[in-house]
Symmetry: C2
Subunit: 342 residues, 2 copies
């Protein structure tokens, strides 16, 4: 495979601050779930109500256990990082741990952190900053195969579906890599492209850089962003779609949602509408694009209703429908094999 | 109207450097054509082969005539501004003229220019830098009317069509403003949104900021960018389309072009295909969106063939077809009145 440079070194510890709502700890929870073997433990400040389930450490313990990196796994409520979090990061940096975060601001402007990093020879790594030199999209055909997650909305399971699908392809003996497009995905993969932070002119080019030429049977499993009918974010979604030139896509859907999350005047599009629109738009750079499955988030659906619900979507689309967390994505792996050969 | 803040003060002089190819002097030529009454003259360095036709000045003359601003109207070949151009800008800034440019780099990093501007109390104004605080697009309905230029490609006459249409609407007694989305348009209007320089997440929001609420009969005539089938730039086009929520659009087309300029593997889409796709995508935020005309660039078509060519597009689309430069846009103004009332 054409490996992307890894942004940071393992093993790492995940810093959870003192958040109390799991929503604000999503990144840390995802990291621990998908990179358990590289995670030495968690650092939680007094009052923290989110537990990722890994060993409890403090910063000196993390250092003595050989941690190379501290990853900020919580989002600060209100967007501004509290002073006592910054103190912890400074402490870790002075001890030589690289600091990784996906803030809206660069780590370097947090008070004292640059000096601490210099003193400890630590790196400050912002995963939300796109790399330099992204070209304009060329639209040229690339070798290798690509499957993109698209959603009926934001936060509909695209990252988890992509991670599960890459894992299940690998388990089935198919060469595949997860390609991250958002901050949590980038932290999990250690590489990727923060697609929503790219300047508009270079969106398609950024998607091209994310999934470069590869061997013919290799699959890039690309995390999606936004939604093709999303009134705010659709340009990001469409740029990623056209630049990725996917052979295949999976529609990720929360069956209980009724409107676009945060946009109550915009009803949630149907899975069928998203399939049709994705084929229409994706055909520009890959006329053979097709849907290979539906990934439902059924976590809030009563267990007794899940099977019927998946059957309904499978019938509507003529495609496999799974809950990637509960079922895995084996049926989608099978569909990819049927459609594209082993 | 809800006026946007003017970025720079008139009167101005246009700085042409020493370019020899009119392609590199497009901005200056456009400025002189569309803002003649605010332009005191041109400053050309020895060897300059592009003449905008306005009086020849040097920097001290410009100052003594009352120029408030010097606008860089030429693009540097190869992208790097030559030292002797920078010297001229420093000279003007020391004399107190504000400097306006749409470079890919900020004016402030040109050697000596910040010091010269400080000494002369001059401002350095980069029109390619988006304003701070652009929100994510809300998709909420705004008051007032909007007509967007869309193209079958980049550089197909969108800016000139929009400028001509705003002028012709005003001449017909209809309240209308040109809304600029690119650097030359922004220099002509003195305001606007450099839409292709906006970070992807905020594209639709940037388009919303560009054409805010207005009185019910007022038209914003919005310069378009890129093309809905453009393999590189379509996310910019689609973000602008969805954020603008236009009531109407005009398709701008170069009838002699066969493929997307610079993308030889991508055939130019037909006007009809662009109409259909624009309606499909634009319906998300304005279900009543419709095409009101076709603007052809017939400058390279033999004069004897122009009438038949326009008739052919008019018949194909059932809409008025004009060359906005040669014919004006009166037929499109009429169509807007028929469709939307006086």
């Amino acid at each position: 495979m054409a490996a992307m440079t890894t942004l940071f070194e393992a093993p790492f510890v995940v810093f959870m601050g003192d958040v109390t709502d799991p929503v604000y700890g999503k990144t840390g929870l995802g990291l621990v779930q998908w990179r358990a073997s590289d995670c030495l433990g968690q650092i939680r400040l007094p009052g923290c109500g989110v537990d990722t389930g890994v060993p409890e450490l403090d910063i000196p313990m993390a250092q003595s256990l050989g941690a190379r990196t501290l990853i900020v796994g919580s989002a600060a409520v209100g967007g501004r990082m509290p002073d006592h979090w910054v103190e912890s990061l400074c402490h870790a940096a002075r001890l030589g741990l690289d600091i990784v975060a996906g803030l809206h601001i660069p780590l370097s402007i947090l008070p004292g952190l640059t000096a601490a990093a210099t003193a400890g020879r630590a790196r400050l790594i912002d995963v939300r900053v796109p790399p330099a030199g992204i070209p304009v999209g060329s639209g040229a055909k690339r070798s290798g195969r690509r499957v993109l997650m698209v959603g009926t909305d934001c936060a509909s399971g695209k990252k988890y579906t992509a991670l599960a699908l890459a894992r299940d392809l690998n388990a089935a003996g198919v060469a595949a890599d997860f390609r991250a497009t958002g901050q949590t995905g980038i932290m999990i993969a250690g590489a990727g492209m923060p697609i929503d932070a790219v300047v508009a002119d270079f969106l398609t080019g950024a998607a091209e850089v994310l999934s470069p030429d590869n061997s013919p049977d290799h699959w890039d499993v690309i995390e999606g962003q936004g939604g093709v009918f999303h009134p705010g974010y659709l340009p990001v979604t469409i740029g990623l779609l056209v630049g990725s030139q996917p052979d295949a896509f999976v529609v990720c859907h929360d069956p209980l949602r009724r409107h676009v999350s945060g946009w109550p005047d915009y009803p949630l599009p149907s899975v069928t509408a998203v399939i049709e629109r994705t084929v229409l738009l994706g055909s520009l750079t890959n006329p053979a694009i097709r849907c290979v499955g539906v990934a439902l988030n059924t976590s809030r659906v009563p267990a007794s209703e899940r099977l019927a619900l998946k059957a309904r979507y499978a019938e509507e689309t003529g495609l496999p429908c799974v809950d990637p967390i509960l079922d895995g994505t084996g049926l989608i792996v099978d569909q990819l094999r049927r459609e594209f050969g082993a």
